[in-house]
């Protein structure tokens, strides 16, 4: 009896203290104020489904809702951090070949029209190319290759029918790249005046000046958002925008804008700033055109993989903070990347660079190259520092195996067009991924026929492995297979990863309720929980 009383008392105390903490936190939240950011350039449009750049996604994500999303308070996106958004709940059926969402009622778009299952159907039909209205660009079509159809059952239930089992399908839907569009607004208008159900309404965009958003007072989530709006001043000059942040003109830096050297300088001048280090899931990688001889020979590609000295890249460009990885980002920043003890056994990752290079030279000699017969190539890269600097190092590393590279800088606006039409021999590229999941990574960058598979790498056996892992539930089995695939991709020189980049996200100390996500630049910008504690 006495013990029960004690237990009850303990529970009451714990509950009260928990309640106290919660209520203190709730009380501490402050409403009002405009969150001020700088932006590095004019967003190409406001239509998230048509873009693959953080320039659009970061400011505009808060205009929309998804069916499900990644918990904005958790730093690592994973299947476990998926939470409901416009869908109240979901249920898998047919051995994970279909997923049915029950939708929220009473949600309205910014123009007052109600949100229904029809809007969900319209959005994914637009992406699949099944609707009369067309997206001008459709960069994530490859994500939904396994999606057969989307069907509404009444106004508040919608089912996604898959061609085969794909348990990680929800990961794609949880990305900031998967907002629900209104059926009644044409794609052209979504580019210039986007309308969603999200916590903030789009106000205006003026090229080279600003993008402004205001609070959606009719937001379906009660008590949210806390801010009155958020505004982005577009500043092309990086020196100016960083100085602006130091001078307190801005509350937050732009996603991924603060590199390691800039952070070191910034924190000296603004010691009060809070800067969170994060992996962006943007990798620096070598691309070798497999259609252009002699690079159609796997041996020469393997030699190129072996000559890369990743540690020196990291030391010179990353101040020792870059992450060594294969295609997938390893823990603690990511989920699926090979741990160091596995990674060191992948060709080219062994720390003994001299031994790797000796093996590479042997391969090159067997192909007829040597000190007197050097291979001359052009190393193409985008003409901006984050591409150019590693390309110069790469040329130096290639010299070690009788390859003389000549830097071919390509105007930034022509870069993707050039690599997409395979108009290069060897190149250095940066690749970002929207969702930290093998399905997104493998199908987007390594699958046969994918538009973003710049090297043209295509192997039937690998396609089978991609599909096999995609059909598996998350767990040690899938993890093991993903490691195996990643190892093969690196050794095949499909797109050898040199390093995974690290950046800082800086904000003023009075910015509260924001958490930097560490394994994607594209999913953590809903802003509905942020407040200014001034």
């Amino acid at each position: 009896m006495r013990s029960n009383l004690f237990k009850a008392l303990a529970v009451a105390v714990v509950s009260a203290s928990c309640f106290g903490i919660i209520s203190t936190a709730a009380l501490a939240e402050k409403s009002g104020g405009i969150l001020k950011f700088y932006h590095r350039g004019t967003p190409p449009s406001g239509s998230i489904h048509e873009e693959a750049t953080s320039s659009t996604l970061v400011p505009y994500m808060s205009v929309f809702n998804n069916l499900v999303m990644f918990d904005q308070a958790k730093p690592v996106n994973s299947a476990e951090t998926i939470v409901p958004d416009l869908a109240k709940s979901w249920a898998w059926g047919g051995d994970k070949t279909k997923v049915t969402f029950t939708l929220r009622k009473g949600v309205k778009f910014h123009d007052g029209k109600p949100f229904t299952a029809k809007d969900v159907v319209c959005t994914w039909n637009l992406i699949l190319g099944n609707s009369k209205a067309k997206l001008r660009k459709n960069p994530r079509k490859s994500w939904y290759k396994n999606l057969a159809s989307v069907e509404a059952s009444g106004d508040y239930e919608v089912t996604f029918n898959l061609k085969r089992r794909q348990p990680a399908f929800l990961m794609l839907l949880a990305s900031g790249y998967s907002p629900v569009y209104p059926c009644h607004v044409p794609p052209k208008k979504m580019r210039t005046k986007p309308i969603g159900t999200g916590p903030f309404k789009f106000v205006s965009l003026k090229q080279n000046e600003h993008v402004k958003f205001t609070k959606n007072k009719d937001y379906w989530k009660k008590g949210r958002p806390l801010l009155d709006g958020h505004e982005w001043t577009i500043i092309k000059s990086r020196s100016t925008r960083v100085l602006g942040f130091i001078a307190g003109k801005f509350d937050m830096s732009f996603a991924g804008d603060i590199s390691i050297p800039i952070y070191k300088d910034l924190i000296k001048q603004a010691p009060h700033a809070i800067c969170e280090k994060h992996a962006t899931n943007v990798s620096t990688n070598l691309i070798v055109n497999q259609f252009k001889p002699p690079f159609d020979n796997g041996k020469i590609r393997k030699a190129m993989v072996l000559t890369i000295d990743r540690a020196s890249f990291n030391k010179i460009l990353g101040h020792g903070e870059f992450i060594m990885s294969g295609a997938m980002l390893p823990p603690p920043h990511g989920v699926w990347g090979m741990p160091p003890e596995v990674l060191k056994n992948v060709a080219g990752y062994h720390p003994d660079v001299a031994a790797n290079r000796a093996e590479a030279r042997k391969i090159m000699k067997s192909l007829g190259y040597g000190p007197d017969n050097r291979l001359k190539v052009k190393v193409a890269t985008r003409n901006i520092a984050i591409y150019r600097d590693p390309a110069v190092l790469l040329i130096d590393h290639l010299k070690e195996i009788f390859i003389d590279g000549e830097l071919d800088t390509v105007e930034t606006s022509n870069w993707h067009a050039k690599v997409a039409r395979k108009d290069y021999q060897v190149g250095l590229n940066l690749t970002g991924i929207g969702v930290d999941d093998p399905d997104a990574m493998f199908y987007e960058n390594y699958a046969c026929g994918s538009q973003r598979n710049y090297t043209g790498y295509c192997k039937e056996e690998m396609m089978k492995l991609f599909e096999k892992q995609s059909m598996m539930d998350n767990g040690p089995e899938r993890m093991k297979l993903v490691y195996e695939i990643d190892k093969k991709l690196q050794e095949d020189a499909a797109r050898p990863i040199i390093a995974n980049n690290v950046r800082y996200n800086c904000f003023q100390p009075y910015v509260k309720g924001f958490k930097t996500q560490t394994n994607s630049l594209y999913n953590g910008w809903r802003f509905e929980d942020i407040y200014l504690d001034k």
Partner: protein, 316 residues
């Protein structure tokens, strides 16, 4: 005489602008890559079918002469087309930016004349004195310091010493705010032009000061001020006028950088962005606008010669 001169000049202006329009139009299309490639850059891939559709939508599939014809016809009727990037009318994009750059350019020019001309005269009058050497050092540094570097130094100094940064983040509410905002950028741009004016005024003044009529004025007992400013400067200022006219056109170049560093949303910075994006309607319209301004300034400079020197006739 004046009328025939004006008609001749107008005809010449028209031909110059026509030539400019052809050059701009052709050059823009000779540069590799077009707007559609750039649009796809933000999507990370290029889909050939989608690319063709957009090219058709924007009229880029038409033969080049047909595209030129449509542009010129539009230009004559003040229809500048739509920005490829923002999908807004080009007039709405360009219009509000012109006054910003115009004010900045005018203020820069004002600064350069305000400092360049009197300091040039002082430097000449006080030739080979400590003051002359000091002014020559200042003018040389004005010519050798790139305006972007100077602009960045100004910003860094402001942040370090005042904790504030004088950049454009929102539209200034009053004329005073606007003046304060443009003060430093225009000084950064005007510094170079003032240095040039100072040096030219100095050398021109030194040449004029050795002329017989100056000696005559001195022997007649005219005051120093009358000699320097009434007799000498009036003649010395002619080559300076030419330079001011040319510098006014060159200011646009300096403004591109300064607008970028101070984040001022003027046409100069906008033009560079439009070129990078291959936003043809914007670039073509803006370059034509700048060409018109330059041609008009040159015309006004020619007219100013006659006003300054009665020996120059319009028939010359």
């Amino acid at each position: 005489m004046l009328y025939s001169y004006l008609i001749q000049r107008f005809l010449l202006m028209f031909l110059t602008l026509l030539g400019m329009s052809i050059i701009i139009f052709v050059l823009l299309r000779l540069v590799p890559g077009n707007i559609v490639d750039i649009m796809f850059d933000s999507a990370g891939f290029v889909d050939p079918d989608e690319k063709k559709t957009i090219e058709k939508e924007l009229g880029l599939d038409l033969p080049i002469y047909e595209q030129y014809y449509h542009w010129i016809v539009g230009l004559i009727s003040f229809d500048l087309g739509f920005s490829y990037v923002s999908e807004m009318p080009a007039v709405d994009e360009i219009g509000p930016r012109i006054p910003i750059t115009a004010k900045l350019a005018a203020l820069s020019l004002f600064f350069s004349i305000l400092f360049g001309l009197p300091l040039g005269v002082i430097s000449a009058v006080k030739q080979n004195t400590a003051l002359d050497y000091a002014l020559r050092v200042v003018s040389l540094s004005g010519l050798s310091l790139p305006s972007f570097w100077l602009a960045l130094l100004i910003l860094m100094a402001c942040v370090s010493y005042t904790g504030a940064i004088p950049i454009y983040t929102e539209t200034p509410e009053t004329l005073w705010d606007e003046l304060l905002l443009y003060l430093l950028p225009s000084a950064a741009v005007g510094f170079r032009a003032s240095a040039l004016i100072m040096r030219l005024t100095r050398s021109s003044m030194l040449e004029v000061m050795r002329q017989d009529y100056i000696r005559t004025a001195m022997s007649k007992g005219a005051s120093d001020n009358a000699i320097n400013y009434k007799h000498a400067l009036r003649n010395a200022v002619l080559p300076v006028t030419t330079i001011v006219g040319i510098e006014a056109a060159f200011l646009i170049g300096g403004l591109i950088i300064t607008e970028t560093v101070f984040n001022i949303p003027g046409v100069a910075h906008f033009l560079v962005e439009a070129i990078l994006m291959r936003d043809y309607p914007i670039v073509q319209s803006l370059v034509m606008f700048i060409a018109i301004i330059v041609v008009v300034i040159n015309f006004l400079t020619d007219l100013a010669y006659a006003a300054l020197d009665p020996r120059i006739k319009y028939s010359d």
